[in-house]
């Protein structure tokens, strides 16, 4: 891989870190983690379980917000503000540009998610909880999810403007998290309308529930690491597909 890819990645990372939006989103997510303790007190269940469940869901929302507000805006804004012009008239292909942006975005997402996870674990330990290795499965799942959401955000960013790209990313997130539930409806429900469609969609489209270990971690169910591995592989493959799509779309785009 050429150095120009890493140069774009570094610039994307720096741009995101210096943007106020990132800090607003992160502070909000950290606030959710801290607030989870209050919910724990109100809950009839194990209050630490509540803390972990709510905090991990907060981190999940952090991943989505970052993909939506940082990822989807990143590429579309480069085109709208014409900064892409000054970069793409150098010795760099559009595919390399997309890849560089992707690596930079993934760097941002992972930094925030890991920082959020550290806040969560510190908070949990402060309230008498221990460090559960299982929680790492949830974190790894979130990191995998952000891999795919980053690629999807770039795909929509290459296709359309910033706002529509953000909307597209949210729609994808909702769809990819709903597929499993819709599929289960067809198994357990009686004569569900459009069952064939849900079954096919479940088999064909990316399923983010494959890497969602939040419930398993919070409910202290056994974590199947092989499932996580397979889910990660699937997410990686889909990320490559979306990146190739983004690259193909962006190559045709006139600046």
């Amino acid at each position: 891989m050429r150095d120009c890819v890493f140069a774009i990645a570094g610039s994307t990372y720096r741009e995101a870190v210096r943007d106020r939006v990132l800090w607003v989103v992160f502070v909000f997510a950290a606030g959710l983690v801290l607030f989870s303790r209050v919910l724990g007190w109100l809950s009839v269940e194990d209050d630490l379980k509540m803390l972990q469940d709510f905090s991990l869901s907060g981190l999940n929302m952090l991943g989505l917000s970052l993909a939506m507000l940082v990822g989807a805006f990143s590429l579309a804004r480069e085109v709208e503000r014409r900064t892409a012009t000054t970069i793409l008239t150098r010795d760099i292909s559009r595919g390399e540009f997309i890849l560089g942006k992707y690596l930079g975005l993934v760097g941002v997402f992972w930094s925030c998610l890991i920082a959020g996870f550290v806040v969560m674990m510190t908070w949990q330990i402060l309230w008498g909880g221990g460090f559960a290795v299982k929680a790492l499965a949830a974190l790894l799942g979130l990191l995998c999810e952000s891999l795919l959401l980053g690629a999807v955000a770039l795909f929509f960013g290459a296709l359309t403007n910033a706002i529509l790209a953000a909307v597209g990313t949210v729609v994808f997130y909702l769809m990819a998290h709903s597929l499993e539930a819709l599929y289960e409806l067809t198994i357990y429900g009686d004569e569900v309308r459009g069952a064939w469609f849900y079954k096919m969609a479940y088999k064909v489209l990316p399923n983010l529930e494959d890497v969602n270990f939040i419930n398993a971690t919070a409910s202290e169910l056994p974590v199947r690491w092989d499932h996580l591995g397979m889910g990660a592989l699937g997410v990686l493959c889909w990320s490559i597909v979306f990146l190739l799509g983004a690259s193909a779309l962006f190559r045709r785009r006139e600046l």
Binding site: S11, R14, E15, T86, L88, T89, R90, D91, E96, E254
Partner: protein
Amino acid sequence: MASILEVRDLRKSFRSALSREPVQALAGVTFHVARGECFGCLGQNGAGKTTTLKVLTGQIAADSGQALILGQPGSQPSARRNLGYLPENPYFHEHLTPREGLRLFGRLSGMKRGDIERRTPELLERVGLADAADRRVRGFSKGMRQRYGLATTLLAEPEILLLDEPLTGLDPTGRQLVKEILHEEHRAGRTVVMCSHVLSDVQELCDRVVVLHQGSVVRQGAIDDLLDHDARAFEISARQVPPEIATRIKQQADKYHEGDSLLRAVLPGTEAGPDFAVEITQGGGKVLSLVPERESLEEWFVRLTKEAAMPVEAAATEEVSA
């Protein structure tokens, strides 16, 4: 001289969302730029200058024709390795400082880190931004952005400089600075291609020009060959001019000024100026200067574009009357 940049029968149409008819931006543009020359691309707004540069730099694809940089299509990234491009109103990442931005552009151009670190302070000094090296671009004025843009263009010492309105938005000092830099780069053997509306700058800097009008080339060649060299008038400055001669000069002059025994006048035609100079000398006066007034590039351009627009206007009039 060998062509370093070549545009062959380039055609490009745009289709707007509102109109069904495509708008032809380039209708078969052909020109070439030789290595080491300073080349100007002229035209009114919408003539196709920026579209040509966009095709050359791979920002948009042409419908047909070729845009070659050192024999390679400009759409290929490797062709742009030897190109430094400054767009009109350049936009940069606002969160970066010039030092960080130059590091980014250096890496994009395949430069070694050591070379980038060495060139950066030199260039920032050269474009007058040494004091702003660590300030974010966000707070820069238009002129500062333009000079920063020029620094990013020069960083990798490319063979070709492709500049779209490089002097726009600069104050007089900035304009002088940028012109000096372009002169220096040209003297150093670099090929400079610039689009500009400021024709006096083009005349000062360029060897050859191409004139585009409504997406077509209407004229190209060396500036000296294109302009009319016959003097249209003479400007005469003289002292102690005999009153009788001064009266006759005043009657014939387009412009006339007399004061403190100094007479200055612009005399139309090719003969009146030199004739009066002889008369003044013979009458005991002293001719300080006799300067021929020739057609400027700007006057030539206005005349040319009016001529080029005429058939179109005539056709439009016919269409309306029909």
